[in-house]
């Protein structure tokens, strides 16, 4: 069930639970993300990060609980570029713009090409692009309908450091323009650097939500090593 949030959050999940047979992938997860905020979902493998993102994006329904946005209101960027290798950059964008039923598909495609800096490669088949550029197209497709919320599942996992840097710069611009960004990552360093807030999941439960600095302060120790703080935090809670 989906309802609009009354707290002013761009997106809110309330008591979301997801069960696969006897296994709970998510247990009573609640959180909010506000306009212009970047929220990182971090946690060990099997914590339920991708499950949470896919429920926010409407790929699957929760067993119980609510999400405040409909799938059409959330831009979805899966981990692997969900675009067609045999189509050009512009053709991919135009196809999804038409499927999204945006008002003026050609204008939206032109805007996204400019925004992603891929105008010069507009007619190139996607299969010929680098992994970084493909991921930019992947994100651009997620942004075609100008959604208030963007959900990204491990967006930088297949990129080299330079491409990663450009990706985060791009996401930073989106957030600055008012888009609420929720992303999952294994790279806790990225979460520390680029997220305003982190949501720590383990075994389907939310263990922590707050800024990276709050998490470091909670754990104590060397404030320059967020990854060590994160590992210690999980260890202290039996994970």
């Amino acid at each position: 069930m989906r309802t609009a949030t009354s707290s002013g959050a761009a997106i809110a999940a309330a008591a979301v639970t997801k069960r696969y047979g006897q296994r709970d992938a998510l247990r009573d997860v609640s959180f909010e993300a506000h306009a212009g905020e970047v929220v990182a979902v971090i946690g060990p493998n099997g914590a339920g990060k991708t499950t949470l993102l896919s429920i926010l994006a409407g790929l699957q329904p929760p067993t119980s609980g609510t999400v405040s946005r409909t799938p059409r209101e959330v831009g979805w960027v899966p981990q692997h570029p969900a675009v067609y290798a045999k189509l050009s950059v512009a053709e991919n964008l135009r196809l999804f713009a038409r499927l999204e039923r945006v008002g003026d598909p050609d204008a939206v495609v032109a805007r996204m090409l400019e925004q992603t800096g891929l105008g010069a490669r507009a007619d190139d088949e996607l299969g010929t692009l680098s992994g970084g550029n493909r991921q930019r197209v992947n994100i651009a497709v997620g942004l075609l309908a100008d959604p208030p919320v963007l959900a990204l599942d491990e967006p930088s996992s297949s990129l080299d450091p330079r491409q990663r840097e450009r990706l985060w710069k791009f996401i930073g611009l989106l957030a600055a323009a008012g888009t609420a960004v929720v992303f999952s990552t294994h790279n806790v360093g990225e979460a520390e650097r680029y997220a305003d807030r982190v949501l720590v999941l383990a075994d389907g439960e939310v263990l922590f939500t707050g800024s990276p600095a709050d998490l470091e302060a909670l754990v104590g120790g060397d404030p320059r090593d967020f990854e060590a703080a994160f590992v210690r935090f999980l260890h202290d809670r039996g994970h």
Binding site: L59, H80, P81, A82, Y84, A85, K86, L87, E91
Partner: protein, 451 residues
Amino acid sequence: MRWLLLKDLQILRRSPFLVAVLVAYPVIISVLIGLALSRGPDKPKVAIVNELPAGQTSFSVGSQRLDVTRFAKELFKSVDPVVVDTRAQAIDKVRSGEVLGALVVPPDATRKLQDAINLAGTSPPTVEVLYNADDPIRAQLAESTIKARLADANKALSDKLTELAARYLGILRKGGQFSLLGQKFDVLGLERSKAALERTLRTLPPDSEQARNVRQVIDFAQIAIENLGLSDKVLAAVGQPLAVKRTVIAGHRTPLDAFAVSVSVTISLMFVTVLLASGMLALEREEHAFGRLVRGLVSRLALLGEKVALAATCAFVVTLVMLCGIGIFVHLDWGRFALWLAALAGGAIGFGALGVAIGALAREVRAASLLAFLLTLPIAFLALVPSGTVAVWLYDVIRAVSALFPFRPALQAVDAALNDAEPGLGPTLAHLAALAVAYLALARVALARFR
């Protein structure tokens, strides 16, 4: 849905190898089938070894001499004879594959034939047939071809002997001239004998011993005349004891070449549709686009419908071109063109639904293609098993299994459209529609784990 269709057509257009195969396949197949059906088979080459001594090729039946070479012509009607001198040469040619088989006429053939006709109690002449059994199909072809031709030669000889026997029995009955060993005999015949006896009887006292004896001989002559009058029919019955009357109990009789066209078109329709539908659906998952599409952009059922429509449209066009290509070589009833369209469309939709079910279950393009081949080929072969060639219970099982897949009803639909064959277009299209709904439902269920 039209944007997805356009997208898939664009992807196909940019896959030149796949499109080339899709276009070339029906063209090549239609030309091959057309050529195969429009041209009769070449006569198989058969080596002939004639071991008969020169000048000993004839035998006598009564006053007639018959030459065995006349009956050899029957053998050569449907084989291309390659005359060789020795049995060893014939064996070499069979081994090398130059000839399908070899026929050895032994040196004592005419003598044994003469002995058999003279009722000398000897065995009939034996003609030896040689063929290579390495290839069972080739061996079967050689054996059946030569056997059939020998049967024709035997029948021609038997007809000649029957004709001669009938002529001699006619002379025996009606009288006439008969030659034996260069001498001519005038045969009185039973009818003239009876007439002479009746004239004699009239000169005798009716109650005399001689009159009674002559009357008995006249009665015997009458019985013999009557029975010998039937000799032609009896001999004909001996020459061909069984006559064949063909009655079609069920099903419209379709010529073999017309049925072959139906089979080839249906097989092409099946492969193009199933492979395209399964592959294009699995491609959505491999491109990771499925999740993006079904989160509000397209419903799962619409996505399945789009893949069925894409594959069915492509296969429909391809097989229609193929059918028109075959029509250049083979006589097809163009007046039934509208029915062709209906049959191809029905078959394509049935196969398309099977294709998306395969694609949804396999989830990967390569696995989907493999599964499509593994599933459809045996089903097509099973559907072609004719009744009466296997046990009744097994045929029932095969028919039940075939009914669960679109090949058999699609073949029946195409056959009905092309050849007005039973059970007709209506029931088969209804069957295909039911299967399409069932396979779409299966595909929809399978999509639940399609991530």
